[in-house]
């Protein structure tokens, strides 16, 4: 699959598999198009070449109705949470259920409370999104992502900007929900230790290509300098510390 924005090639003929029932991580430096990849999988963007298929359906050949039917089976956790700010936590989670089912309110209440209980926020049901901390907002968004019992959940940078406790909670939730709900999870992140601790398989993206892939242990043992620089967080290496410029002495001595 290839995808470009204007003249800039974001993905250059990449190919990847997301196995059922596993946690697959997509990692790479900022700006490599990790979020774009999730939008391509969700059908919000269209690849220039190639195809993306889920459960045998080519996402970009579906008409709007079938695409929406497919999306009901996908959950997505946005980096910002993307909670609707004019309704409270309870209504945010009830929103997709009310839109897509004819269940009565007592049933919806039970479902919403179960989802909230799974993320530990049953007591926060009456709070407005503006009253939640960053970690809580992401957990509510997680509860909303699983509201329609999807088969696949996509997490966009779930750990960014979280304190250590929230981070630990989110790491455990992604892993435990994947097992208990028998989900297929895609985690897009650049938080190396957290993502490696919960992933079954990892793809490393850079410059529009997949530069490495494998189980976390395989990547840890890799001899590839780029992979080692990314995993160890070294400031200099194949990805240089300095932005392209003329030599420093030459630059300083110029008038």
């Amino acid at each position: 699959m290839s995808f470009s924005r204007g003249s800039r090639k974001i993905f250059d003929n990449i190919s990847l598999d997301i196995p059922r029932g596993k946690v697959t991580a997509i990692m790479g430096p900022s700006g490599t198009g990790k979020t774009t990849l999730l939008k391509l999988i969700g059908g919000q963007l269209k690849p220039d070449q190639g195809s993306i298929s889920m459960d045998g359906n080519n996402v970009h050949e579906l008409n709007r109705k079938d695409l929406y039917r497919l999306r009901k089976r996908m959950g997505m956790l946005f980096q910002s949470g993307a909670l609707l700010t004019d309704i409270n936590v309870f209504d945010n989670i009830a929103y997709p259920i009310r839109e897509h089912t004819d269940l009565d309110e007592s049933m919806i209440r039970s479902l919403v409370l179960m989802k909230l209980n799974a993320v530990g926020l049953r007591g926060a049901r009456d709070l407005m999104p503006s009253e939640l901390s960053g970690g809580m907002a992401r957990r509510v968004a997680m509860a909303r992502a699983i509201a329609l019992d999807p088969v696949m959940v996509m997490y966009d940078e779930p750990f960014t900007g979280q304190d250590p406790i929230s981070m630990g909670v989110l790491v455990n939730l992604i892993r435990s929900m994947n097992q208990s709900l028998k989900l297929s999870s895609i985690v897009v992140s650049h938080d190396v230790p957290e993502t490696m601790s919960i992933s079954d398989h990892i793809y490393l993206l850079s410059g529009g290509k997949i530069v490495a892939e494998g189980a976390p242990d395989e990547l840890n043992d890799s001899n590839d300098p780029w992979t080692q620089q990314f995993i160890a967080g070294q400031p200099d290496g194949p990805v240089p510390f300095h932005f392209a410029a003329e030599p420093v002495m030459q630059d300083l001595l110029q008038e």
Partner: protein, 260 residues
Amino acid sequence: MLDKLQLIGQKQLAIVSRLGQATIFLYQIILTMPGVFVRPSLIIKQLYSTGVQTLVIILVAGTFVGMVLALQAYYVLVDFGAEESISQMVVLSLMRELGPVITGLLFAGRAGSALTAEIGLMKSTEQLSGMEMMAIDPMQRVMAPRVLAGFMALPILTAIFMAVGVLGGYLVAVHGVGIYEGVYWSLAQAKVDFYTDLMNGMIKSVVFGLVIVWIAVFEGHDSVPTSEGLGQATTRTVVHGSLAVLGLDFLLTALMFGDI
């Protein structure tokens, strides 16, 4: 020289392309309209925020415009001994022009800018993308109720503006400059034609309402999701909305009252 021509051409193309995008956007909203009526609570909520919350500014502005009109009419007409015709001037001005136009301008400033900011912020905080990923069409759940509510609210606000304007004129004419009350009301009644004056004014307000909310929701949906982009989109809504009201007012007046 050639560069300048090229630049003018590029700008023209950009304007036409944007107009095309806005038309497709409106068409998509209209297609989703039937689904909006399934959830009338969405329309009621938007009627409150675009209509009811604009009411105060309409009431205050309408009263003062009516009062000023009466006062200016008196200063001119008194020289000809025709000051009793104040009500005719106040009522006709309000119903044919000032009612729909000033209400439209205030609506673009108050409700239009709020709509753009709200939708733009929903876009920048990924709420619209989030809805799409939940298989919920934001055109139907966010855009369409707002367009419908604005379209319904402006004619009602215009009618209220006209009514309080006539009352403001009454205050000045009857209690300020001493015109006989019976003359004020009877002339207002006799000289206003329901279809030519009142209905044409209301038709204008319907057109203005549609155009303003169309511009407002399109600008919000099309905004660059940054604080600067949102500010620019809100400004464009007020500027384009106001200019559209004034331009369309001329066209509609020419069609309704003149032989141009």
